[in-house]
């Protein structure tokens, strides 16, 4: 598999409201290709909203988001951008309960119109990368929380994203399992060269990332110097 290059991200004066609540206020941020950034902040500070806007899950009210210098919401099909550039990992694994681990990893590939045999091959390859080759035909109910989250990571990597967005990926896991999942995420990022943005309360995430940014009431409080290692 060719290692995909990381995607550069520019968030320019972005605001977002949900009803009367202002989630983000004229926030600006620049993330270099291949950089790993930890995003911290109190609950309700706008971390998840920022990640969702960068990933094209919601349109900003104002401002602009550029992925590799392309305005995400100016493309006619943001779903295509999500399919080709972005991978998501959430706090909840969100696996489809009726499908096997392999079939869950195949779901993004199905959306991309990948042929059945190629889907299967790629899913098994990814499950092997996250250490679950022997659990490929198991359903989520037969997997532990950590294993389910590793399947979710494999699913996020299915379309070879250049930007991996993880929203509290260890929030529902115990400390030991959290460490394993974080090891996996950062190991994959080092190996594949993708840009990684991780929202987390976990201090160890900050220690692993190139830099940490903190959000307070929808704005950026402080940004550490870029320690981009590549």
């Amino acid at each position: 598999m060719n290692a995909p290059a990381g995607a550069g991200v520019i968030v320019d004066q972005v605001s977002k409201r949900f009803g009367r609540v202002s989630a983000l206020r004229e926030l600006s941020l620049r993330v270099e290709p291949g950089e790993a950034v930890a995003i911290s902040g109190r609950s309700g500070s706008g971390k998840s909203t920022l990640l969702a806007l960068i990933g094209g899950l919601e349109r900003p009210d104002s401002g602009e988001i550029l992925i590799d210098d392309h305005a995400l919401w100016q493309t006619a099909r943001p779903a295509r951008a999500r399919r080709e550039v972005v991978g998501f990992v959430f706090q909840r694994h969100l696996l489809l309960g009726a499908l096997s681990a392999r079939a869950n990893v195949e779901v993004p590939l199905l959306g991309a119109g990948v042929h059945r045999a190629a889907r299967r091959r790629r899913a098994l390859e990814l499950l092997d990368q996250v250490g679950l080759a022997d659990r490929a035909e198991h359903r989520p109910s037969e997997l532990s929380g950590g294993e389910s989250q590793r399947v979710a990571v494999a699913r996020a990597l299915a379309n070879e994203p250049r930007l991996l967005l993880a929203d509290e990926p260890t929030g529902a896991l115990d400390s030991v399992t959290s460490e394993r999942v974080l090891d996996l995420l950062f190991h994959l990022r080092d190996r594949l060269g993708m840009t990684l943005l991780v929202v987390s309360y976990d201090r160890s995430v900050g220690a692993r990332a190139d830099r940490t940014i903190t959000l307070v009431d929808g704005t950026l409080e402080a940004a550490g110097a870029s320690l981009h290692r590549r």
Binding site: A79, L96, A98, L110
Partner: protein, 367 residues
């Protein structure tokens, strides 16, 4: 995609089955009625060609050909026409046999081609004024043999013989003399219709127009479709089918729409996830629409099965099994299947449109 649709439907197997059952009832009713109508059409062919005739002359604008009234002088007028080889009058008595109300009693001239066309399988063709010839189906059903007595409108008739004609109406009925029939019904000088055999080379369509012009107030029936159109009952059935198709489409579509709407509310996170991993709104909508169509196809398949069985039950319930055999055709089954698919598509459109309006962020309930 098919695997995901199947998995999703099996995951809520109870709800899938209930929705499919509702659709099945609608499709089954349609198939049963279509089979019944097709049976009527085939029976009507027999009615048109009674006694091996080419056409039948009836009173115009009657609700049902069996209640037609013509003066028996019509026969002589018809027999004298160039395009007519033979003409013989018939007086039809419906519900004349108490033990088998579906059987028709034909009042016919003993020397007419209608009576002569009957093939005697038992007894004698010679009938007295109070004698009756019985069709082999009626004889088998009512356990009649020559020498037995058959009651027609409460009057005893001696069974002279048993015949076979190959026409369902005739074989499931009985034949008495025209004079006896007119006396029995209190209609002297009247007949129901005149059946006609055309002269060699005469064309039915040309002869029909010529006869109608010569005998105002009559209609000529030459094919089964005409016979069905002429009958008010057949028209009612055709309209009933249309109404049932519309009701089935509306009720079925609402049922599917409701099921799919409930399903997308329950599976909001799943739908959000599919959008998140790059499924286009069109593809997610196709998944929902596909599930609706799959439920409907399941219902239609069940409905076709029940409809085929139901057609026989319907004929029995209406008491017309003696002269109507339900006929299941590929086109009838195809129409049932089409209704099923249409229900799925109509019912799936709204839920599918709704998922295209859902944003992934709100579906996943994260911010």
């Amino acid at each position: 995609m098919v695997a995901i649709i199947t998995t999703n439907l099996l995951r809520r197997s109870g709800r899938t089955l209930f929705t499919a059952s509702g659709i099945a009832v609608g499709v089954a009713t349609i198939v049963a009625l279509l089979s019944f109508t097709q049976g009527l059409k085939e029976t009507a062919a027999g009615l048109v060609h009674l006694g091996g005739s080419d056409l039948g002359v009836f009173q115009a604008n009657v609700s049902d050909p069996t209640v037609s009234v013509l003066p028996d002088s019509t026969v002589a007028g018809l027999a004298g026409r160039r395009e007519v080889a033979r003409a013989t009058p018939l007086l039809l008595i419906v519900e004349g046999i108490g033990s088998d109300p579906a059987a028709i009693v034909f009042g016919a001239e003993p020397r007419g081609f209608f009576t002569r066309s009957l093939v005697l399988v038992q007894g004698s063709a010679h009938t007295t004024p109070h004698g009756v010839l019985v069709g082999d189906r009626l004889a088998a059903q009512a356990h009649l043999r020559s020498g037995d007595v058959l009651s027609i409108r409460g009057h005893p008739f001696a069974v002279a013989g048993v015949y076979h004609s190959g026409i369902l109406f005739e074989d499931a009925g009985a034949v008495i003399s025209l004079a006896a029939a007119q006396q029995l019904t209190g209609r002297p000088g009247e007949v129901t219709d005149v059946v006609v055999q055309l002269a060699p080379g005469a064309r039915a369509s040309v002869a029909s127009r010529s006869i109608v012009r010569a005998f105002p107030g009559t209609q000529v029936i030459t094919d089964p479709q005409q016979a069905l159109r002429a009958g008010a009952n057949s028209t009612l059935i055709a309209k009933a089918i249309l109404v049932i198709v519309v009701i089935a489409l509306i009720v079925g579509a609402i049922s599917v729409a409701n099921t799919m709407a409930m399903s997308i509310v329950e599976r909001q996170a799943e739908i959000g996830l599919l959008s998140t991993v790059g499924w286009s709104p069109l593809r997610v909508a196709s998944l929902i629409l596909g599930e609706g169509v799959a439920v409907s196809m399941l219902g239609a398949a069940l409905g076709l099965l029940v409809g085929v069985i139901g057609a026989g039950l319907l004929v029995g319930a209406l008491g017309v099994s003696a002269y109507v055999s339900p006929s299941v055709t590929a086109w009838g089954l195809g129409q049932g299947l089409l209704v099923g698919v249409a229900i799925g598509v109509l019912g799936g459109i709204y839920p599918a449109w709704r998922v295209t309006r859902m944003t992934p962020l709100r579906s996943l309930s994260i911010r």
